[in-house]
């Protein structure tokens, strides 16, 4: 097996996960993620893409294979090098927006002055400066997800992991958040691993799409989307976009067939 290339931020080497129940969620996933890259894991539900993300985050241990951090280990040695956005906003309902965003810093014991600045910056990134004192239940679904993204960004992580973050939102809100996420990514240059089951969303956002097979999950194909950034609504209606979507959809269909 070839060593990880020097600009990889994280490399998965034949990573497998079998749950105690005997269910094989991942059967040998190998993947290099490069620094600054926007990569999507695309596959049907049950293909282990969320499991892969949790393993990268260190929330779950692989039952075989290894994870390498060529630029220094992020997951275990230091907190705040990884930001995680869940499918649901996962906010503490008893805490204000600012307190929710501040959580990673306060758990690490960051001084309050420094934390306040970081929270303000993170909230500004997602356009919620005016909602610092609001409580989660006062916000719409899209705004809650923005708070969740701000919380993931507040530690200025090198790697941002997103687990189908926009799947539960309506299409108009999802498109808006797609655009905002791309602007953020271009401004901050973080590495993003984005899990989705939407062909259209993965093509719109990613530089590279990793198509996975269902049950057990492994990499079926990698497709690069060379369309230039910034991408906007014009890209969404372009012939290029339609072409990429067809290519990815066909690959996904082939992956499903192989898995079945």
């Amino acid at each position: 097996m070839e060593p990880a290339t020097s600009n990889s931020i994280v490399s998965l080497r034949d990573v497998g996960k079998t749950f105690d129940s005997g269910v094989v969620a991942l059967a040998g996933l190998s993947l290099d993620v490069h620094a600054g890259e926007f990569v999507s894991l695309l596959g049907p539900s049950g293909c282990g893409k969320s499991t892969a993300l949790r393993i990268v985050a260190g929330l779950s241990a692989p039952t075989r294979g290894a994870i390498e951090w060529p630029q220094g280990r992020a997951a275990k040695s230091a907190t705040g090098e990884i930001g995680f956005v869940f499918q649901e906003p996962t906010l503490m309902p008893w805490a204000s927006v600012a307190r929710n965003v501040e959580l990673p810093l306060s758990l690490a014991g960051t001084g309050s002055g420094k934390a306040r600045d970081a929270v303000a910056t993170a909230l500004a990134h997602v356009g919620l400066e005016d909602f610092a004192a609001a409580f989660p239940r006062e916000l719409s679904g899209g705004m809650k997800m923005r708070v969740s993204i701000a919380r993931a960004l507040v530690t200025e992580p090198r790697l941002l992991l997103m687990d189908e973050p926009f799947a539960a939102l309506d299409e108009i809100t999802r498109f808006k958040l797609n655009n905002d996420l791309l602007s953020l990514w271009q401004a901050l240059r973080r590495t993003v691993i984005f899990v989705t089951h939407s062909v259209f969303e993965s093509v719109y956002l990613s530089q590279r799409i990793v198509v996975m097979t269902p049950r057990p999950g492994r990499v079926f194909a990698e497709i690069s989307i060379p369309a230039p950034y910034p991408r906007d609504e014009r890209f969404r209606t372009s012939a290029d976009y339609a072409g990429y979507c067809r290519q990815v959809a066909e690959t996904l269909a082939a992956a499903m067939e192989q898995g079945a």
Partner: protein
């Protein structure tokens, strides 16, 4: 808006109307059948006893309320601390939980006379109040601590939160609604526990609480005072419930679903 207003007026007016009807019927029955006061006193006599014996009755009320509050306070602390210990150390839960259940399912009326043998009266009454009140706090707090959003647990895990941070910053706040439910139930139960113990002690030793007054008035066939004391006990129970409900509302109103009005 208008519908909400009339709804609220109805919710106050209907029970008040029912009260007036029942009291009037009670008075009419007593007059009509000329029932003697030692069998069923008229509402007027009960009210008279309440006014006449107010010094005695209010002193007794304070004694009972004091015991109830002490029992409730100890039950709240005991229930919450024990639930936290259960949550942190499974072996503690396995060891103690069955006995907590046994303590709960054994009728307190049956335990009270035994406690009165082994403990001074004040402590025995306190113990009864504690025994009946602590279990709902324990059970509800345990439920709350165990039903935390698993993604939030993963988030705390991701940021390397310590066990203490997970408990104090995540599990306890998440369990607040259930803890407050437990406390609301415990408030009423600790009054019941105190009353049961006082009644059990009534025939045995000197007491001065409201329940003791009821027992004593019963022996003396002072039925109006019995009713007056009973009325005060009910009012005390209602007051405890209202205070704890208000506390729950104050704590949860900013964030919890149960406090969410259908405003949009």
């Amino acid at each position: 808006m208008k519908k909400g207003m009339s709804e609220r007026i109805l919710r106050v007016a209907l029970p008040a109307l029912l009260l007036v009807i029942v009291v009037a019927a009670w008075d009419a029955v007593v007059r009509l059948f000329a029932i003697p006061a030692y069998v069923l006193p008229s509402p007027g006599l009960v009210f008279g006893a309440l006014v006449e014996d107010r010094a005695l009755l209010f002193d007794s009320l304070l004694v009972t309320l004091g015991l109830t509050f002490e029992g409730f306070f100890l039950a709240a602390i005991g229930g919450i601390v024990l639930a936290m210990a259960f949550n942190q150390w499974r072996l503690v839960e396995y060891s103690f939980y069955p006995y907590a259940v046994i303590l709960q399912v054994t009728p307190v009326v049956a335990i009270a006379p035994l406690l009165l043998i082994y403990l001074p009266q004040h402590l025995a009454v306190l113990a009864c109040a504690w025994i009946v009140a602590f279990f709902p706090v324990l059970a509800n707090t345990t439920l709350g601590l165990n039903s935390v959003d698993h993604n939030l647990v993963a988030l705390f895990d991701l940021y390397k939160a310590s066990r203490w941070q997970v408990l104090t910053r995540l599990k306890l706040p998440a369990a607040l609604p259930q803890i407050l439910t437990g406390l609301r139930i415990a408030g009423g139960l600790s009054l019941i526990g105190a009353v049961v113990a006082e009644i059990a002690a009534g025939s045995a030793g000197a007491g001065s609480g409201l329940a003791y007054r009821i027992a004593e008035s019963g022996y003396r066939l002072n039925i109006p005072r019995m009713f007056a004391a009973l009325l005060l006990l009910s009012l005390a129970g209602v007051a405890i419930f209202l205070v704890l409900s208000a506390l729950s509302h104050l704590v949860l109103r900013r964030w919890h679903e149960s406090e969410l009005r259908a405003e949009n």
